[in-house]
Symmetry: C2
Subunit: 66 residues, 2 copies
């Protein structure tokens, strides 16, 4: 399912997908795919995304109803 928390956190920083991708050293498509959902990124990438957006893993990637 879509990761709307990530999309919102990125919007709050006013980053484009490409800017966030550069900060995390991955491609824009990878960020797009993660936001779109039905994707399974590695924990290191998730951590890099969290650091770039000043969030924690629980805030962006933990879903109670999962």
């Amino acid at each position: 399912m879509k990761n709307l928390k990530l999309k919102a956190a990125r919007a709050a920083k006013d980053y484009s997908q490409e800017q966030l991708a550069d900060l995390c050293n991955v491609s824009r498509q990878t960020i797009s795919a993660i936001e779109k959902g039905d994707y399974n990124p590695t924990i290191n990438l998730c951590i890099a995304i969290c650091k770039a957006l000043d969030k924690t893993l629980d805030e962006l990637f933990w879903d109670e109803n999962q």
Copy 2:
């Protein structure tokens, strides 16, 4: 680096690596490698591990000094 928080949480539940692996539907070697460190599991596996051990992502996979 080693994931000692994971090792401790598994010990607290008195699970062997193999028992935890079965709960997460992965091989024992995968759990061993994650505890040993220098490994980069997927977020879905991390979430499965957290659920099996009644922990959250931040508790097992978030390191402030990282």
